[in-house]
């Protein structure tokens, strides 16, 4: 029998703020343990929460970006459960009145080949709400140690509809969502730092059936490739169980990306009963039109919109856009360089950036932000080539040198004497000499032997000490040969 998988994702995104969600203790990653706390973070007796305005802005912005409806009024609820990483033993979250409803994430599925664009789809969202992160437990042999630095960091939970049907779709969803959040400056979404975390609800059903199968929640998908592998593994596991005549039990499973296996979490916790109720310490939030408009103005162009624009406006190939778009800074670098070089040079500029620049950055282990080579270097280089001043092998040397030093290409060309001969008088003279020195080949060419032309190019280049523009040499030789009738 054929089975169809149904997948919904719950994605937690840490919001990049300077202070925590409900107190002004600093937020951050990589600090000494328990140095980002205050009485509120530690839930000392008597403390009270106060919302972080910037975190609210960020989640409204995320909602606008993803086409959600922003609730006119939302409120805060307490989700009650005991765990040592949760200082209050309740989490402040949003239960029945989240801040964002609906919306969608556009995804691109893998194309038939790497250089061919894949199918695009919109995966609908259920909701986005705001809550606070928990601390970190370090399990030792005999005890567990708790660091509360992360506790209280603003956390956005983005819940998709169960509308994906393969591990690839889930992977594409997460990739696209992550990029949108990075573009908007909402989060750095570094999965290694726990800034983006994903749980998946997965079920299978016979193809064509509309009723959903029993879902399994898969946790700890803590890298983007683990999301794909873990979901694929779980789909296979469920189909295996059903095919063997078994039934899927509703459970939570933990995926271990290193071994590629999952196991059921038989938590001591009885059936969860979070006892949600409105947090009496916090007031509701009203989002009005002016607030939305102010944030709308700060929303960036979504990555796929930018890609469409690059394809149509700059007429650059998909393969180049698929290198530029995933890196917001690189795609901006490209646009700046094209603006300086002229739009007709877009593809050439794109090639230099997508190939040469990335190769140099990789070799030097340098981030784009630290690059001495800026858009102006690329633009000038491209213009020198277009003008015939700089020839191809030399251009690559110039590129490597300006990447290393930040010197502008024109200056390198001059200093190293790489300027191609553009004086047509000299060139014509060398061509005449070459033709005069080889009458046999002149005859061959005139008899229709096209390749005979090459016989003259060596001497011309030699006379020009290698700095003649081959295209110009070719044209001049042909012109002189035509004239010599």
């Amino acid at each position: 029998m054929n089975y169809e998988a149904v997948i919904g994702l719950e994605v937690h995104v840490q919001i990049k703020t300077r202070s925590k969600m409900f107190t002004r203790a600093p937020a951050g990653y990589g600090h000494d343990v328990n140095t980002l706390t205050d009485p509120v973070v530690l839930a000392l007796p008597g403390v009270l929460p106060v919302m972080n305005k910037a975190a609210l802005d960020a989640v409204v912005k995320a909602g606008l970006l993803l086409g959600c409806e922003i609730a006119p009024v939302c409120k805060w609820d307490r989700k009650n459960y005991f765990y040592p990483d949760s200082p209050k033993n309740y989490q402040i979250s949003q239960y029945d009145r989240p801040i964002c409803l609906g919306g969608a994430v556009e995804i691109e599925l893998p194309g038939p080949a790497r250089n061919i664009q894949g199918e695009h789809k919109r995966i609908p969202l259920t909701r986005i709400h705001l809550e606070e992160d928990v601390g970190k437990l370090n399990h030792g042999a005999l005890d567990s140690l708790i660091d509360y630095n992360r506790a209280g960091t603003p956390l956005m939970e983005i819940v998709s509809e169960p509308a994906m049907h393969s591990a690839e779709e889930a992977f594409a969803f997460l990739t696209s969502l992550r990029l949108a959040m990075i573009y908007a400056g909402i989060s750095d979404c570094d999965m290694e730092k726990g800034q983006l975390r994903c749980d998946a609800n997965i079920s299978v059903r016979p193809a064509g059936q509309t009723k959903l199968g029993t879902k399994v929640e898969l946790k700890n998908l803590n890298s983007i490739s683990f999301v794909r592998d873990g979901i694929a593994h779980e789909i296979r596991r469920q189909i295996g169980v059903v095919n063997a005549g078994g039934v899927i039990v509703q459970e939570t499973r933990d995926y271990d990306g290193l071994t590629g296996t999952s196991q059921s979490l038989r938590s001591k916790e009885m059936a969860h009963d979070y006892r949600y109720f409105p947090d009496p310490d916090l007031m509701p939030v009203k989002v009005d039109e002016a607030w939305k408009q102010r944030l709308q103005a700060t929303c960036p162009e979504l990555p796929f919109d930018k890609q469409r624009r690059f394809l149509s406006h700059y007429q650059i190939p998909y393969t180049i856009t698929s290198v530029l778009i995933p890196d917001q800074a690189l795609s901006n670098f490209f646009e700046e360089a094209v603006a300086l070089a002229g739009i007709q040079q877009a593809q050439v500029v794109g090639n230099w950036i997508a190939n040469d620049l990335l190769r140099e950055l990789g070799a030097a282990k340098r981030a784009l932000a630290d690059s001495l080579l800026r858009p102006v270097h690329v633009a000038e280089l491209v213009k020198l080539i277009e003008a015939g001043v700089l020839l191809m092998p030399a251009a690559r040397e110039v590129f490597a040198e300006m990447f290393a030093s930040g010197e502008l290409p024109g200056a390198i060309v001059d200093r190293r004497g790489l300027r191609a001969v553009t004086n047509e008088g000299d060139l014509e003279q060398w061509c005449r000499e070459a033709l005069a020195g080889n009458p046999k080949s002149v005859a061959d060419f005139k008899a229709g032997k096209e390749s005979a032309l090459n016989a003259f190019k060596g001497p011309v280049m030699k006379a020009a000490k290698g700095k003649a523009n081959p295209k110009l040499v070719d044209e001049t030789l042909r012109r002189l040969l035509a004239q010599s009738n």
Binding site: L42, L44, P45, N80, P84, I146, R275
Partner: protein, 487 residues
């Protein structure tokens, strides 16, 4: 000198301090000596730190000598209910759970009192986590009523009321969730004010029921309550439920508010269960207001009988969540028997909490649990709306509402073993918290056997200045609080 320093008012003391007749250190020594003399009988304090108090007094004297006095509270010892955080001092909530907890931070009210120069004096006993009406639920000791040592001082702020009545503090702060300031004030013959919800910051007050809790002052006169309120009231950015409102000079306003007022008498507060002596004392006070030219009108608060039910759903639900943080992980009592982290919770909480606290956590957990939320919590919140609307409707006809503070005078320790019987003592005070209103308990007489009786004046939202003016108009002619206990 009219009396020993420890029994004088803030007004008298600040004048004497200003004139140099008395130093703050003299005053503090007088209060310490009095405390040490009567504390074996009263047991109002969980702890106090003489040296720290004297050091604060010396700072005050230095300020005064330098001409930099911070106002009428500078150098005045103010007792603190042991649920209000003072940096470097114990903060126990009278619970074994927090027996060894030392606060690393100041509550907002404490910051404000320090800014006014007041001396934070001692940690005053209460019913554990402010849950109770008799201060018998303290894990450490039962405080006695200074006017009747075999009787309770009321609760939960029993220590705060008893200390002020006994001259162990000039004034004090308590907290009131369902009557925890007003009822002990009535039992101990002092004035106690529960401010409008949101007037005084709750930051640094150990939460019992967040939507009902308010900090408020105890003192031996309406004027002293006004002075203390002026120091602690006002918007606090650390409390999201705190209100932006202008803070008048409550003390100066006292004599400007002259009435005559329209006073409402709710018939639901004078029915079955009201002690005849209390009823009579309150009726005499009503008669006095009439003599002052006030119009006295019957009003109805028809949902009063549901108050206790609504209160015990909302308060226990909130407390079950507020007290979840006491788990023995970051601070507080930790069981030595725990096998693993989950077991640690079960045992630490079982060992750390007393039986009333556990009872309320169980009830609150139950009413919030899956399948019961709508029937209990949501319904209670709706009935709360009706209770609030009752008061707002009454205020279309009257300026304030006058009731007994408690159905009876102070009862004997151990007299109310049944929790429901104890809960029903709060019947007259609970509605005020549910509606978020300000109310003050003012002494209005004594029973035949010498136990104090208090009346409750309930004001309009943020109407503390008017409310205290009404209280002062009665007190001026009947200064019951000046009758000292024999200790």
């Amino acid at each position: 000198m009219s009396s020993e320093p420890f029994f004088r008012s803030i007004g008298e003391l600040s004048a004497a301090l200003a004139r140099g007749e008395l130093s703050s250190v003299d005053l503090m020594r007088s209060v310490i000596a009095r405390t040490e003399a009567v504390e074996p009988k009263v047991r109002a304090f969980n702890s106090f730190d003489r040296e720290d108090a004297l050091a604060q007094a010396r700072s005050s004297d230095l300020r005064r000598a330098a001409g930099a006095s911070l106002g009428p509270l500078d150098g005045i010892p103010i007792g603190m209910k042991d649920v209000i955080a003072v940096a470097g001092q114990p903060l126990t909530a009278s619970s074994r759970m927090l027996a060894n907890f030392v606060s690393p931070y100041d509550a907002t009210v404490v910051k404000r009192l320090r800014a006014a120069g007041a001396i934070c004096w001692g940690r005053l006993n209460l019913d554990e986590f402010a849950m109770g009406s008799s201060t018998e639920n303290s894990a450490f000791q039962a405080t006695a009523n200074p006017y009747a040592l075999d009787c309770v001082p009321g609760g939960s702020s029993g220590g705060s009321a008893a200390a002020v009545a006994a001259g162990e503090a000039i004034a004090s702060l308590g907290s009131d969730t369902g009557g925890s300031i007003r009822q002990p004030a009535a039992f101990c013959n002092v004035v106690g004010l529960k401010p409008t919800y949101g007037l005084v910051s709750r930051y640094g007050l150990i939460a019992f029921a967040s939507s009902l809790d308010q900090i408020g002052p105890f003192a031996r006169s309406v004027e002293d309550v006004a002075i203390l309120l002026g120091a602690i009231a006002g918007h606090d950015p650390l409390d999201s439920t705190s209100f932006h409102t202008g803070i008048p000079d409550y003390r100066a306003e006292l004599d400007r508010r002259k009435g005559p007022w329209r006073l409402g008498i709710p018939k639901e507060y004078f029915g079955e269960g009201l002690d005849p002596e209390v009823a009579e004392a309150v009726q005499r006070a009503v008669a006095h207001y009439q003599k002052l030219g006030c119009e006295v009108k019957p009003v109805s608060l028809p949902h009063t009988e549901y108050g206790v039910g609504v209160y015990y759903i909302i308060a226990t639900a909130e407390c079950s969540s507020n007290l979840a943080r006491y788990d023995g992980v970051r601070y507080g009592h930790r069981s030595k028997e725990a096998k693993d982290a989950v077991d640690l919770y079960f045992r630490s909480r079982a060992e750390g909490f007393g039986s009333e606290v556990k009872r309320r956590i169980i009830l609150g957990t139950y009413v919030l649990s899956s399948g019961y939320y709508d029937a209990f919590y949501l319904r209670a919140q709706k009935v709360r709306t009706l209770i609030r609307n009752d008061f707002l409707a009454a205020y279309r006809e009257v300026d304030a509402i006058l009731t007994p503070t408690a159905p009876t005078p102070a009862f004997r320790r151990g007299a109310k073993a049944d929790p429901l019987a104890m809960y029903l003592c709060d019947v007259y005070t609970i509605g005020v918290n549910l509606a978020g209103l300000p109310a003050v308990s003012v002494p209005c007489g004594f029973s035949q056997d010498g136990r104090p009786i208090g009346m409750q004046l309930i004001g309009q939202p943020y109407g503390e200045a008017e409310l205290l003016g009404i209280a002062r108009a009665y007190e001026r002619d009947h200064p019951w609080a000046q009758k000292r206990p024999v200790l």
